[in-house]
């Protein structure tokens, strides 16, 4: 139905644009990771030195593991908050569903910076939480460890990613045919058995998608540690950022970026396959 010319006109511009402004930049990232810095200049000498450094210097692996621990904590907490919420809305909210859904959507799209900043004002040693604790006489002195700790990073990112985790979970719960749930109950299963043997298994694809979002997005975050984290919660992307800034070693920074990129893509690939396998449709 569509002519050759039509197909050419719609495909050529985006292919060209994406080729020049996305593919080429990503390729440059790969190329840089094989180059070196010599006398403050990037020398185009192809080698694997940067990748070797990553494994020789324990600092990088240590920070990577810390990042993964933080990402795992954020993922777990977001699921703990997001799953019951999604379950409640899908099975118990009835008429209010639409309103509640919009209430979750709003914080999802509201500025990352605004929400991060809010936590900064709450957790600071002269912040709102400390003021509140002193007001109700729980503490006498301001508590300083709320802010600038891995705890603050986990809290802030959990706040940001809970709605992300919620969305696919809610979608997968909404897709569960209600007659399956009724059949389970009619056949004598209690509500606990129905949940663990019918609802939970059927919601696994959504759970996996949500968990992947939270984990992957945390993995590449560098703003939360700068905003509320402090030196004890430096994450892998902060190292990249400083290598591209003051430390000026773009090739090494590129090598770490490539590792983050590969880690992200392989995680997404893996979970996509698992989702397909667990999906009942």
């Amino acid at each position: 139905m569509y002519s050759r010319a039509y197909k050419w006109i719609v495909s050529a511009p985006p292919i060209l644009w994406v080729g020049i402004f996305l593919l080429l930049p990503y390729a440059l990232m790969f190329a840089h990771s094989f180059w070196v810095v010599r006398d403050g200049m990037i020398a185009h000498e192809w080698n694997l030195q940067n990748y070797a450094k990553l494994f020789q210097n324990p600092v990088y692996l240590e920070v990577l593991f810390r990042t993964m621990r933080i990402a795992a904590a954020v993922t777990l907490l977001s699921l703990l908050l997001g799953y019951p919420l999604a379950y409640y809305m899908s099975f118990h909210a009835n008429m209010r569903k639409d309103l509640l859904y919009q209430l979750v959507i709003v914080p999802l799209w509201v500025s990352y910076l605004v929400r991060g900043y809010a936590w900064k004002t709450i957790l600071g040693s002269e912040g709102v939480l400390n003021g509140f604790l002193q007001y109700i006489h729980v503490t006498k002195e301001p508590v300083s460890f709320f802010l600038y700790s891995p705890f603050a990073v986990v809290l802030m990112l959990t706040h940001i990613y809970t709605p992300f985790v919620f969305l696919p979970l809610y979608a997968s719960l909404e897709h569960i045919p209600r007659n399956l749930v009724e059949a389970s109950q009619d056949l004598g299963a209690g509500s606990r058995a129905t949940f663990f043997r019918v609802i939970l298994p059927l919601s696994l694809p959504g759970l996996l998608a949500g968990a992947t979002f939270a984990f992957v997005l945390t993995l590449g975050d560098f703003l939360a540690p700068l905003l509320v984290g402090g030196p004890s919660s430096i994450m892998i992307a902060n190292i990249v950022q400083s290598l591209f800034g003051t430390a000026y070693d773009w090739p090494l920074g590129a090598a770490i970026s490539v590792c983050i990129l590969l880690l992200t893509i392989s995680l997404l690939f893996l979970t996509e396959r698992l989702e397909k396998r667990w999906s009942f449709r």
Binding site: M29, Y88, W109, F244
Partner: protein, 274 residues
């Protein structure tokens, strides 16, 4: 059915838990708004003495409004660029076949999936490679390119809902493909285009991770706030954050209503993530 309604009644704990999650999601925002009216600054409890002083300070703060203007320029440009290319990409994915189509689809969506720092740094290296001076133009290029992913996803979903028979009829009745595009395809996509545009605008106004590496001398609003946070926090930042929050809520709700009208509730899982 009676069982289901029984179980609905038997879950006060779950309801309370859901309420707590909502409290967790909204409490920081409420605190933020509350303290923008607090005379004594950000902190301390309870907030005392309502004042609009911080808003007055904000409205006379030229640097902030310059950055707002910069953000509006970048976001406006990004909407036009990404909608144009996203529309073509969605049409190509929907209607054309070409070698490497699945690679192209994945590549377009990559900025949606990858951490912002990777896309930002890649574009920085490209800017240096191409000899571009970092400025608002490079930020616009970055936003416009990264957000093609959002435009493509949204418009592809819109295209799937279009009845192709209308286009076929138009072509059969003698309209040129060009006329058919302007008079049939585009009007059918109008709501999807508005919805995608709103979303892209919101995301661009808020973007930090990519902007961080592409910014020149002129700041966008988030970067201006970011720079001020390094110097310490004042309720003026609460005031601007409150305004950002209010504007985003309006845009998001408009977007949501258009979105549910165009694609129906079943397609909501497509919305996935920014």
């Amino acid at each position: 059915m009676t069982r289901a309604s029984q179980s609905a009644r038997r879950s006060p704990l779950l309801g309370i838990y859901a309420l707590c999650v909502f409290a967790f999601l909204y409490l920081p925002i409420v605190v933020l708004i509350l303290y923008s009216f607090n005379r004594d600054g950000v902190g301390g409890f309870p907030p005392k003495q309502l004042t609009f002083a911080w808003y007055r300070l904000l409205f006379s703060d030229a640097a902030i409004w310059d950055s707002v203007l910069n953000s509006l320029l970048v976001a406006g440009g990004a909407v036009v660029l990404s909608l144009t290319l996203g529309l073509l990409a969605a049409l190509a994915l929907d209607r054309a076949t070409f070698p490497g189509k699945s690679i192209f689809r994945r590549l377009v969506l990559l900025p949606l999936i990858l951490p912002g720092i990777i896309t930002g740094l890649s574009l920085l290296m490209f800017a240096v490679f191409a000899g571009l001076q970092l400025s608002l133009a490079t930020v616009f290029l970055g936003h416009g390119t990264a957000l093609i992913s959002v435009a493509t996803t949204e418009l592809f979903a819109g295209l799937q809902k279009i009845d192709r028979a209308q286009e076929e009829a138009s072509l059969d009745l003698g309209a040129t493909p060009w006329q058919t595009f302007w008079r049939v395809t585009l009007p059918n996509l109008k709501l999807s285009l508005i919805a995608a545009g709103l979303l892209i605008f919101t995301l661009s106004m808020d973007e930090i991770a990519v902007t961080f590496f592409l910014i020149g001398r002129d700041n966008t609003l988030p970067l201006e706030i970011w720079a001020r946070l390094r110097r310490g926090i004042t309720p003026e930042i609460n005031a601007i954050s409150t305004l950002i929050f209010a504007v985003s809520v309006i845009l998001i709700l408009v977007w949501y209503h258009i979105r549910t009208r165009t694609t129906g509730k079943e397609a909501q899982e497509l919305l996935e993530r920014p």
